[in-house]
């Protein structure tokens, strides 16, 4: 049976969704990021913005400027240009090295998450910090990255009850992914740590630090070093970023 993907779905009168799979994988996510970059570069008339989920690209357009059938034809033509599931990532990506404190008051559900993943807390921290996590997409809240993928053991469910208030920089873990909250948030993800990172600075020239496709390496630090790093953020001393080849 031929794959139904990539597939086009109308979302109301002014949005079109291009889905690359019904499940997440790193090659699918790479296809999403590459296709979004291609749509942006094509600068199609009437397209007002694009966004990604883990497995799809959304185009929001002005139906006064382009009709559905025309736009769908242009998207089909772009899709036919190559096999997007080739794993090739867009350029201009960065690798961020971000200090984070794990466990304790800064990550009260670390032990629980580690136990569900079948390991001790120290082994979980080591595994997380050894993984180069890709910013697979950004969404839900301003500047919130979905990071993945962690090793298979971390395929643990979200909690059914919500954590009432995970602080800014809080790290959540579930389903082989992590999220890093840019503002205090209510969440069902297990709260395992806190990063010294400011993902949404509304008054800055570059308000959103991360781009989808960037990578993050966390470095486990002491509470004291974490607090120094947070103080550094306030004076403009950022986490370290280098451009990926």
């Amino acid at each position: 049976m031929p794959s139904p993907f990539p597939s086009l779905h109308r979302m109301g009168e002014a949005a079109l969704l291009v889905a690359f799979a019904d499940h997440l994988s790193m090659p699918v996510n790479a296809a999403v990021l590459a296709f979004r970059a291609a749509v942006d570069a094509a600068d199609l008339p009437g397209v007002e913005e694009t966004a990604t989920s883990l497995k799809s690209v959304l185009l929001r357009f002005n139906p006064d400027l382009v009709d559905h059938v025309t736009l769908e034809g242009q998207i089909q033509a772009l899709l036919a240009e190559r096999d997007w599931i080739s794993g090739e990532m867009p350029h201009n990506r960065r690798l961020w090295r971000i200090p984070a404190v794990f466990g304790g008051d800064h990550g009260p559900q670390l032990e629980e998450a580690a136990a569900l993943a079948g390991m001790g807390a120290d082994a979980a921290i080591a595994a997380i910090c050894a993984t180069r996590l890709r910013v697979m997409t950004i969404g839900f809240a301003p500047g919130l990255p979905y990071l993945g993928q962690l090793p298979e053991g971390f395929d643990i469910p979200r909690k059914t009850e919500l954590n009432p208030a995970v602080p800014k920089g809080g790290l959540g873990l579930a389903i082989r992914q992590m999220v890093m909250f840019p503002v205090e948030t209510q969440t069902g993800w297990r709260w395992i740590g806190q990063a010294a990172f400011d993902g949404f600075r509304q008054d800055a020239t570059v308000p959103f630090a991360l781009n989808a496709g960037d990578e993050i390496l966390y470095r486990a630090v002491s509470v004291m070093e974490f607090e120094d790093s947070v103080a550094g953020l306030a004076t403009g001393q950022d986490a370290m970023a280098e451009v990926l080849p």
């Binding site: 779905h9 109308r10 979302m11 109301g12 009168e13 002014a14 949005a15 969704l17 889905a19 019904d22 499940h23 997440l24 979004r36 007002e48 913005e49 694009t50 966004a51 990604t52 989920s53 883990l54 497995k55 799809s56 959304l58 929001r60 139906p63 006064d64 559905h68 997409t137 950004i138 969404g139 839900f140 809240a141 301003p142 500047g143 919130l144 979905y146 840019p182 503002v183 949404f200 509304q202 008054d203 308000p207 959103f208 989808a212």
Partner: protein
């Protein structure tokens, strides 16, 4: 002292709103902006100002007390009609008015609908990411509180104008289109969805509104387990208990609940404005019908200034005013936050 609107007392849901900040969906920031953008344009038309850069105080459910500082101010009242008095004199709604220097404006509870708008000529606020709207969920701006002094300009004209507002405050039939996951619901479920009369749940916010009803839920018939997908305002997600939840302009940008349909742009403000408990039905329409409604709404917004007329004293108007006051007196006894 320069011209300003002083907030003496604030209801619980006051914020500055313009048309929002589209363009940051891929950054996790929904467009936000006024729940009822037509009310912004109506306010501008009543003040004889351009609609394009309208900014107003959005008032959820009830208003507050305000004083004109430094100069006489030009104001307009639009959106959900509320009990309003200027120095003790009842004001008709919608309309534009001259607020003499030092005068006090009291705005009480909504008589119909949810969101009232207080426009002030020359109202200023800093731009964040290109817009002046508060985005409460995203931490941009915030609620307005007592003690705030909002800079504006001395009245450029005396107001005294009115218009006939489009009726959008009582719920009713909301037109919808399919969304990306509509085909995961069975024809029977979709038919029941269209046949059900919902009530707007009282726990609505700028992020979304739950639709209550007494029958069974509307979960997918074949549960496919959706990986989080991008949300656009208007999407109707079916949450865990099977209740439909209409996402409004300040919604999150990603969600894992299936979307049964999406509200057409021309009808979204009607969902936001419906009062708690107001009846709501959904009806699928064709894409052509949705686009025609979108075009008609844009034309209506553009031609608002043509419908603005002077409030003249004639017997017909006086009868209308009396009717408003009769209703207002009954409602304000329970809804006026000043009581």
């Amino acid at each position: 002292m320069s011209a300003a609107l002083q907030i003496i007392a604030a209801g619980p849901g006051l914020s500055l709103q313009d048309y929002g900040r589209p363009g940051f969906l891929g950054r996790g920031l929904s467009r936000g902006g006024a729940m009822d953008p037509l009310a912004l344009a109506e306010g501008a038309a009543l003040m004889l100002m351009p609609a394009g850069d309208a900014l107003a105080i959005e008032m959820a459910g009830a208003g507050g007390r305000f004083r004109a500082e430094g100069a006489a101010l030009l104001i307009a009242l639009t959106g959900a009609p509320m009990v309003a008095e200027l120095d003790g004199v009842r004001l008709p709604w919608p309309g534009s008015f001259l607020m003499p220097k030092g005068a006090e404006l009291r705005i009480g509870g909504a008589l119909a609908g949810s969101y009232g708008y207080l426009s002030v000529a020359g109202l200023q606020a800093p731009r964040v990411l290109g817009a002046r709207s508060a985005h409460l969920a995203g931490g941009i701006g915030g609620r307005l509180a007592a003690g705030a002094s909002l800079p504006c300009v001395p009245a450029p004209n005396p107001g005294g104008l009115k218009l006939v507002p489009e009726d959008r405050f009582g719920g009713g039939t909301i037109r919808i289109l399919p969304s990306a996951q509509t085909d995961q619901f069975s024809a029977a479920t979709l038919a029941r969805f269209e046949a059900t009369e919902f009530r707007k749940d009282a726990r609505a916010s700028r992020m979304g509104a739950r639709m209550a009803q007494d029958g069974g839920g509307f979960s997918q018939d074949a549960h496919l387990g959706i990986l989080s997908e991008i949300i656009v305002p208007g999407d109707i997600q079916v949450i865990g208990d099977g209740a439909p939840f209409v996402l409004l302009p300040e919604c999150q940008t990603m969600g894992g609940y299936p979307r049964i349909a999406t509200v057409i742009s021309a009808d979204l403000a009607r969902v936001a404005q419906a009062a708690p408990g107001a009846p709501i039905r959904f009806r699928f329409v064709t894409l052509d019908e949705a686009l025609a409604a979108r075009t008609a709404a844009a034309k209506h917004r553009k031609t608002l200034p043509d419908g603005v007329v002077s409030r003249v004293r004639n017997p017909a108007d006086i009868a209308d005013l009396l009717a408003y006051q009769l209703v207002g007196g009954v409602i304000s006894a329970t809804h006026d936050p000043e009581d």
